[in-house]
Symmetry: C3
Subunit: 257 residues, 3 copies
């Protein structure tokens, strides 16, 4: 099984060119799209999306990711081997969040010309380098055959969550299609009743809920979402529009039990 | 075969998390997306979209639908068994339009813990409850095993079409991507030549056609569309933009033979 | 294997209705979406997108395309047989660019009632005529069985590239999701260093690069893209926004070695 994640969108045929390439090498491959609507060139967002989905796929899945502003430059192409899955993509951090959650065993540089076509474009390695590699790996090729093992891959940058005087400081990691604000703060819901949030220099007190529909429609709430992170949401509404925030903004949180 | 319909969009990984869950339980499942662009929380639109597509799938298909503003609240999770297909989703009406077209045989509450993971989120039953159920049902589990039979499921609300003095009163059920206005009025095209339509207190006389391309480009027309309902359209144009209407608006129609 | 290309979008269930129809006839079909976001009724764009992707699919693939402003009128439905693949769609030029690249062997009119349902809508031949044909062809039905051979199919119209006094005159064939301007000019990159481009009566000198990331971010460049055509792009930016051009605009190019 092969999953695909990219910033290519669906208007063009770039995703289809990758799928055709995979299916030419490996006609029985099951291909599942994670998303192709990662914001263009946004490696951090690609890393988050992949990490949120990869663990739900079966053992042995090959996750192919192409968010690749450095295509054609010196940046390396890599394959990461973990206990549960393989990851294929550029060495720019986009694979690391998901791979580290599964426990990285080995990282290889994708260099063996045996697993790529003779003619390679300078601008579309997703099709010409990563897709063939994913197809061969899904076919049973050993990761160690793709090229030399490497020691260190590039890490993506995220704000580190800090806890000081019971105020937790993190950031908005992702805004989903419902407008829910997903932070990078993990927490035990236990006995919390209310949460005090500082966003864009404005402070709000929000009820801490188990699910969206627990309060009335259009009510702002805080909860632990399906990603396992603290989320700020509006029941049947759009929190990103209301609070006028964007991905990367700082968020400070206090609790009332 | 399993179809998926939701209001999740494709930007996030929610759909992929459901697919990974299904494929982990049932690696050979064929999964087909109906749409994930149902308007957020719009149960009626989900019901219409599902009903427009379900009958084209093979016997035995499992249709999984997640348009679920009540996730985590008291609303039940259900499986509907019909002669041709199974339907899995929340008990909020979203499954009923399609299921009733096929003849409902039994409705069960999805309650057996055997068919769900040990840890369930409060906010994403699509992944944690509905997707596993669909995967097991597609694998051959009997619908009666998922939980107790129930008598009544929630019905979606649609305006009932009324015919008085040869004026038919219905509503705009859906506006498709071409801007065609799909009403809930079924009719025999027979010998009709023109149609008189009242939309937003304005009255128009439109030629009654067999297909879009029968009149010149940009000409407004009425026809029986592929859904089997009366449609108001503009050949190679967008009727929703021109007539400034929205889903749910009333439409009154008279005929000239 | 069957690929699908259309202007239906994914909000409606039109694509799903086609897939259900195919899978009812041919439950083991592998179906791959090329795109459903061709601009509504834009036959030329459909032709370009298909031609950019088709050659990457395995031998024997059936390419089904529905960009069909003339649905229900006198325009013919056709099947084109080439050395590598079959093409199914309306006879309006949308198939030709891709089919000609592969070498057309025979063209047949899709007319045999054996390969379509008894009841056919006037407005959705994608579902009622083209999808069943693709399913049967993928199942092994011979193209010659679908109907009579025909001599000439409709050609799509593209500006012919002219080379005069070392100025090449072509057009913008496509603007991709990154905002890259893809022209219809093929060229040998060899020893070119700079390129002089006239767009909308403004002239620019751009460095001629191998890949996007070769220059600084936000720098305008020219390169031979993955389609094999001259592209004008901005590294990590959107050239279509900057140069305010649209598909079909003329582009004139000179070279400096």
């Amino acid at each position: 099984m092969i999953t695909l994640t990219s910033d290519f969108g669906f208007k063009d045929s770039y995703v289809a060119q990758m799928k055709g390439t995979i299916l030419t090498i490996n006609p029985k491959a099951t291909i599942v799209d994670i998303t192709h609507d990662v914001e263009k060139f946004n490696v951090r967002m690609g890393a988050f999306i992949l990490a949120s989905a990869a663990s739900f796929f079966p053992k042995g899945t090959v996750h192919l990711v192409v968010v690749d502003p450095g295509v054609g430059t010196e940046r390396r192409a890599i394959v990461i081997q973990t206990k549960k899955a393989l990851f294929v993509g550029p060495d720019n951090g986009v694979l690391m969040l998901a791979a580290e959650k599964m426990g990285i065993e080995h990282t290889y540089q994708l260099a063996n010309p045996k697993f790529r076509p003779q003619k390679i474009s300078n601008t579309f390695h997703g099709r010409d380098i990563f897709a063939p590699a994913a197809a061969y790996l899904d076919n049973g090729v050993e990761p160690s055959e793709v090229g030399p093992e490497i020691e260190e891959a590039v890490e993506p940058k995220f704000v580190i969550v800090k806890n000081k005087d019971n105020i937790i400081k993190g950031e908005i990691l992702h805004i989903d299609g419902f407008g829910n604000l997903i932070t990078n703060i993990t927490m035990q819901a236990a006995s919390i009743k209310e949460i005090c949030v500082n966003l864009q220099n404005q402070t709000f007190t929000l009820p801490f809920c188990k699910t969206y529909g627990q309060m009335q429609a259009k009510q702002s709430i805080a909860l632990v979402g399906s990603h396992g992170f603290l989320e700020i949401a509006i029941n049947q509404g759009n929190a990103a529009h209301k609070f006028q925030v964007k991905v990367g903004d700082t968020v400070e949180v206090g609790f009332r039990t």
